[in-house]
């Protein structure tokens, strides 16, 4: 059983997923990605601000709590710091469990808790209207 968490500068795309242990019957992955609108306005990216090292430490604590609370086999949580462009991945939660049910429940719990407690903030980067059009 292992739980780990990391905060990376920039998008998470391309970071390989863990290789599950053979005893794992179910692997669940959630990826949060940057959508092109925020509150109905077009954006080009999100800048993530993290309170370091608290944010990474809390992600790790949540991963360990999820492992224990839901009886999982392994959890990995990754989050971006800094700029992540539209269509790129800013959060990835990887859960290995014996069966599906506990993995889905753990995923729900982890993301709810992350969104409530972990000191990470996003700031949308809006399209600059007319920027570059002035001489």
């Amino acid at each position: 059983m292992s739980a780990n968490a990391r905060i990376f500068d920039g998008p998470l795309d391309g970071i390989p997923a863990p290789t599950p242990h053979p005893a794992v019957g179910a692997v669940l992955v959630f990826e949060g990605r940057i959508r092109p609108t925020e509150a109905a306005q077009t954006i080009t990216a999100i800048d993530y601000e993290t309170y370091d090292p608290m944010a990474e430490r809390m992600l790790g604590e949540l991963a360990r709590q999820a492992l224990e609370k839901f009886g999982l086999l392994a959890v990995q949580a990754l989050h971006s710091r800094g700029r992540v462009g539209v269509g790129q991945c800013s959060f990835r939660l990887w859960i290995a469990s014996t069966h599906r049910r506990e993995g889905l429940d753990a995923m729900d719990w982890f993301i709810d808790t992350l969104k409530r407690d972990v000191p990470i903030w996003k700031r949308p980067v809006f399209v600059e209207s007319g920027a570059g059009a002035t001489p």
Binding site: G32, Y48, E49, Y51, P53, M54, A55, R57, H79, F91, I111, L114, K115, R116, D117, V118, P119, I120, W121, K122, R123
Partner: protein, 83 residues
């Protein structure tokens, strides 16, 4: 009298226009609840969000009754939006 700094992040830092707020509290041994009250008065732009915010003391989420010392690292954790 206790002097301490509270770090701000994200939209709360944007609202105040500062990365930290210096507070002067009447108490000698102060609690998180007292810090939040003083912050509400010192930084009116936080009025709407402070009730759903917590303090982190030395990088750990603290409860209202937890003590705060001037040497502690204190941060306001509110309006988080990770994930």
């Amino acid at each position: 009298m206790t002097h301490l700094d509270v770090r701000l992040f994200g939209p709360q830092a944007d609202a105040v226009g500062e990365r930290s707020v210096r507070l002067t509290l009447p108490c000698e041994s102060c609690t998180c609840a007292q810090v939040l009250d003083a912050l509400r008065t010192a930084a009116p732009p936080l009025a709407e969000s402070i009730d759903s915010s917590r303090l982190a003391v030395n990088q750990r989420l603290a409860d209202p009754a937890d003590p705060v010392r001037p040497t502690d690292e204190i941060a306001l954790v509110g309006m988080v939006s990770g994930g």
